[in-house]
Amino acid sequence: MSIFEYNGSAVVAMVGKNCFAIASDRRLGVNLQTIATDFQRIYKIHDKLYIGLSGLATDAQTLYQRLVFRHKLYQLREERDMKPETFASLVSALLYEKRFGPYFCQPVIAGLDDDDVPFICTMDCLGAKELAKDFVVSGTASESLYGVCESMYKPNMESEELFETISQALLSSVDRDCLSGWGGHVLLVTPTEVVERTLKGRMD
């Protein structure tokens, strides 16, 4: 098994009408053994910007700490929050710094910019950005996620419908993957509120 499959993960983000949703699974494993069933993969950078880190869990935690550090310094200097596009470039640069000894993570970045237009992007472990207008996926279940999202996604969904779609997409995909699952964690972000929900899925 490759190093990306050591812990197992699944992260997906989708764009709706003036809102976005980001979801992840909750399993943390060591190869085939399940260690924890409530592992957090989606981290908050600021009120309107979230990052989901799939791949090796230790690198995800370290990368998150480094990003929070950089963002806090930015807040002190600029006296405002970072825009999602800027943050994506920051993540990309940080990952490419380690070009020949990378962080084994694939981030999924989702945020609302100043005009409350949703922004999502993903990148590989070396920082190659992939911007999308509809959905982005990463993790060991990414192949299933691509298929399911492609068939379930519709543009301009309202927030509740977006929540249903992303939940079904996540749960169906992780059911077909041994290394991810044990429920889901969904964050639905609109210009006025953030709703965080936990999904109950198959516990195997």
Binding site: M1, E5, G8, R27, G29, N31, L32, Q33, T34, A36, T37, D38, D47, E78, E79, R80, T140, S144, D175, R176, D177, C178, L179, W182, T192, E193, V194, V195, E196, R197, T198, K200, R202, M203, D204
Partner: protein, 238 residues
């Protein structure tokens, strides 16, 4: 180890225990291709070899299906020749011989089988046939990728002379524990109970398993709605 990663494997978890009157065999129902779940709820890892002898299979699916068919063929001929069903010991021996003679040819990874059944000479018996062809007659046996997690549990929980219901509950509990901790085990739990009266098969769907709602390893979860107020700090005007 040369794993054919595009071939289906039924690694999972298999369990066999003896009780006062016979044996209970149990298995999960997950079949995987690499780390993709090929079949999660309907695969049957407990196959019939003769009337009252069943085999639990764990390992490369193709090889094990062949072993079952091959041994069943020989046993059918043997039943006709001897005029009575084959004993558990004879069946286990045939499985063991196949495994032993073809160890080098089967380059597909770990293969473990549990042969269990009832015959009129020795009653209920469990034989574990491990990788390479070792045969062990045991009061209870486990194999498969999820078995390492339940070794200790079964050592503690199995008692001599259990009743049929207790034995079946024990098997279901053991396989559920393995499903909860192993990624390659999952789905439903199938059991086959074999005794002097006959064979009874059961299937416990995933929702009914004792640990399907595992709250052991979770922090409290709740739905939180944060209403954000506008909090923008504008850059100072020049």
């Amino acid at each position: 180890m040369d794993l054919h990663l595009n071939a289906p494997y039924c690694m999972g978890t298999i369990v066999g225990v003896t009780y006062d009157d016979g044996v209970v065999l149990g298995a999960d129902s997950r079949m995987t291709i690499g780390m993709l779940v090929a079949n999660d709820s309907v695969s049957d890892k407990i196959t019939q070899l003769t009337d009252k002898v069943y085999i639990c299979r764990s390992g490369p699916a193709a090889v094990l299906e062949f072993v079952s068919d091959y041994v069943r063929n020989i046993l059918d001929q043997q039943t006709i020749q001897f005029g009575q069903p084959a004993t558990v010991k004879a069946t286990a021996n045939l499985v063991r011989l196949f495994s032993y003679k073809n160890t080098n040819a089967i380059q597909m990874g770990q293969m473990g089988m549990i042969v269990g059944g009832w015959d009129k000479y020795e009653g209920g018996q469990i034989f574990a046939v491990a990788q390479g062809g070792t045969i062990l007659k045991l009061p209870y046996a486990i194999d498969g990728s999820g078995s390492s997690g339940i070794e200790g549990f079964l050592d503690r929980a199995w008692k001599e002379g259990m009743s049929k219901d207790k034995a079946e509950k024990l098997v279901v509990k053991a396989v559920s524990l393995a499903i909860a901790s192993d990624a390659a085990s999952g789905g439903a739990v199938r059991t086959v109970t074999i005794n002097s009266d006959g064979v009874r098969k059961n299937c416990y769907p995933p929702d009914s398993l004792p640990l399907c709602d595992d709250k052991r390893r979770r922090t409290k979860t709740k739905k939180t709605t944060t209403t954000r107020t506008e909090r923008r700090i504008d850059a100072p005007k020049p």
